[in-house]
């Protein structure tokens, strides 16, 4: 069934895959460098914000997608990071990079603390805990108005770019913010990717798929859950810091129930527990409302985006559990087949079997169908080598 269509075969870990990956990375870097020259500052600013949203969703996905703990309150960590940076810069004149570190640390700690009530609960109760925490945040911010400017907002948060010709002038600041966001996003993706592929990552997936056996087999559930929460929160916190310095103004009304649900929507649309899905999702939830406003000037056009979101989320839950990224992967699988590397090592059998096993071009194992592969990777996380070995 899989040999009916001619497809390009790429062996995992083989030279072709490596070259494609390097070419892809190079292309990405070139595009990123070129964008400031190609796009006008306004558009660049939009990309900056979209990257920031994507960062939050990358963090959210670590928790809700990979670790399977729905977080309805993630906008709160976003806000904690934002306000930490905002307050430190405006009231205490702290250098912005330091505020970023403090914001990440602060969000991480709060994330760990929030993880505790959620530790032993399941299902909707976890969602409720995160919802409660998430909503306490704007209330607290409003109340602490001495520090935070309350509901009227916090102004004048800025991060002046370093002294270099590239960053000169108004445009230079835009470029600077753009690079901050892009680097932040790439960093977050890297952190999540490495975390998921590590032993730690596998223990999180084990907990998600089958909790009791995982605990019995020695996975430290407390450590795994709290660290995941913390890391997820920390990433959102960094995103918040960047949000603060790139927009310059903060109000508690931004971090509302609507924003929390929108982030979750972004994760679902982009594709939970995938690597590129959250990034896609972030861009979708940023740009769709913008386009809706651009396209029509009817009163309430923003709301059309909301309707679209609602419908899309529901449709995706029914059809495409793995979101747009999953769809992309399935489409790709019709033309490209990524084949697991042949297992090397001692094999029972004739010497000829052993000799031939090393060659990537000859298939000894039956090729898995693309949907199996996609589903398997879907469940076990991107690039999990266990998945490959089990086929």
């Amino acid at each position: 069934m899989s040999s009916q269509r001619r497809r390009l075969v790429i062996v995992e870990g083989g030279r072709l895959q490596r070259s494609i990956q390097i070419a892809g990375a190079a292309l990405l870097v070139i595009t990123l460098c070129a964008l400031p020259y190609v796009l006008e500052p306004f558009r660049l600013g939009q990309i900056t914000q979209a990257c920031i949203y994507a960062m939050v969703i990358v963090g959210l996905n670590l928790l809700s997608g990979f670790a399977g703990q729905i977080s309805l309150g993630h906008a709160a960590f976003f806000g904690i990071g934002a306000y930490t940076t905002g307050v430190l810069i405006t009231s205490y004149d702290v250098a912005p990079p330091i505020t970023f570190v403090v914001a990440i640390a602060g969000s991480f700690v709060v994330g760990v603390v929030v993880a505790f009530p959620a530790l032993r609960l399941k299902g909707i109760y976890v969602a409720l805990v995160t919802l409660a925490v998430g909503l306490i945040f704007p209330a607290v911010i409003t109340r602490m108005d001495q520090l935070t400017g309350g509901s009227s907002g916090l102004f004048g948060i800025s991060y002046p770019p370093p002294d270099a010709a590239y960053f000169a002038g108004f445009d230079g600041t835009v470029y600077f913010h753009y690079w901050l966001a892009v680097i932040g996003l790439l960093l977050s993706c890297l952190v999540v990717r490495n975390l998921v592929r590590s032993r730690f990552g596998r223990s999180i997936l084990a907990l998600r798929d089958n909790e009791t056996p995982a605990v019995i087999m020695g996975v430290n559930r407390t450590a795994a859950r709290t660290l995941t929460f913390g890391t997820s929160a920390g990433i959102a916190g960094l995103a918040g810091s960047l949000f603060a310095v790139t927009t310059g103004i903060l109000t508690p009304a931004t971090f509302s129930l609507l924003l929390m649900l929108t982030f979750l929507a972004g994760m679902v649309i982009g594709g939970a527990s995938t690597l590129w899905g959250p990034v896609l999702g972030g861009f979708v939830i940023y740009y769709v409302p913008q386009w809706a406003t651009d396209l029509s000037s009817i009163n309430g056009s923003q709301n059309l985006a909301g309707v679209a979101f609602g419908v899309i989320i529901i449709v995706i839950t029914f059809t495409l559990r793995s979101g747009l990224a999953g769809l992309g992967r399935k489409l790709l699988a019709t033309v490209v087949l990524v084949e697991p590397r042949q297992p090397r090592g001692v094999l029972q059998g004739t010497p000829s079997t052993v000799a031939r096993a090393a060659g990537p071009s000859e298939r000894r194992l039956p090729a898995p169908s693309p949907t199996d592969l996609a589903n398997h990777l879907d469940r076990t996380g991107v690039g999990s080598t266990d998945a490959a070995r089990n086929l």
């Binding site: 909503l135 909301g306 609602g310 419908v311 989320i313």
Partner: protein, 298 residues
């Protein structure tokens, strides 16, 4: 004076709590069958309230317009259960939650598209001028508030009677208690679940017209109420309708008294009080005060 102030705050708390309990009742109705946390309950209620408002604007007598909204709510609940919840089967709490979130965003936005984002005035069922109140133990109970309390009392009593004394109510309770066994005694469990959603939709649609005269009609009107309802349903126990109502009243009174008498809380942290209660319940006794089922714990 002190006494009157306390009574006024108490009464206000009870009235608020009645609304929380009302909405929590709807949440419990959808949870019992489908194990679904329907975050979109408030938005559904808001939609029905707007429809009732539109009907009333076109000359339909207010009571009938509200009835129309209730019918819509019931129908909407049934349709949603049949098409969007039932296909997921059992043990699908997360996907259903996501669907409800989708409904939340979608319905909210839809209402914005149809009626715009501005607040509107909703006609009151009873005279609502500042003079229209009765005095109870020194507190002023406005007619509108009396209607809210009355409506809640009627609905709760009716539901209680149905659940306790009718065969249908028994069938619904059996479905919620043990769906597998219920199937084996000939109960159509899927129909019972659908009924839960229909009831929830209808109950929600009653709340909107009751509170709209004082809170004004707008697409965001239920945002805080749904949160209070979640807190009340958690405190009372997600499988106990009576618990949800009592918990709602408790939360209403508690938050109001704390906000009035504990200085630094003030108004902006009122919601935080309910949220803290929610957190404490989840940490100490997740099944709530009246919930009978043990929440899954390891």
């Amino acid at each position: 004076m002190e006494w009157e102030l306390l009574m006024t705050r108490l009464v206000q708390g009870i009235v608020n709590g009645a609304v929380y309990g009302f909405l929590a009742l709807a949440l419990v109705c959808t949870y019992r069958g489908s194990k679904a946390l329907n975050l979109a309950q408030g938005e559904m209620a808001m939609l029905c309230t707007f429809v009732a408002w539109s009907l009333s604007n076109h000359g339909v007598p207010l009571l009938l317009a509200i009835g129309g909204g209730v019918l819509l709510g019931a129908g909407l609940g049934g349709v949603i259960e049949r098409t969007l919840v039932r296909p997921f089967g059992r043990d699908a709490e997360y996907p259903v939650l996501i669907v409800c979130i989708g409904l939340f965003l979608g319905i909210n936005a839809l209402a914005g598209v149809i009626w715009g984002g501005d607040p509107h005035a909703f006609p009151a069922l009873v005279p609502d001028a500042p003079d229209d109140y009765i005095s109870i133990l020194g507190a002023r109970l406005r007619y509108q508030q009396l209607v809210i309390l009355g409506a809640l009392a009627i609905v709760v009593t009716a539901l209680y009677a149905v659940f306790r004394f009718t065969r249908l109510g028994l069938a619904m309770r059996a479905s919620a208690s043990n769906p597998d066994s219920a199937v084996l005694v000939g109960v159509r469990v899927s129909r019972m679940n659908a009924l839960g959603w229909v009831l929830a939709g209808a109950v929600g649609a009653v709340i909107g017209p009751l509170i709209a005269p004082s809170t004004t009609l707008s697409t965001g009107m239920f945002f805080t109420f749904i949160i209070y309802a979640c807190a009340a349903a958690t405190l009372g126990g997600f499988d106990s309708p009576i618990g949800a109502v009592i918990a709602g009243l408790v939360i209403g009174v508690t938050e109001n008294l704390i906000a009035s008498y504990v200085g630094f809380i003030g108004d902006s942290l009122k919601l935080a009080v309910a949220l803290v209660i929610l957190l404490i319940v989840l940490m100490v006794r997740p099944s709530g005060l009246f919930g009978s089922r043990e929440v899954e714990r390891i």
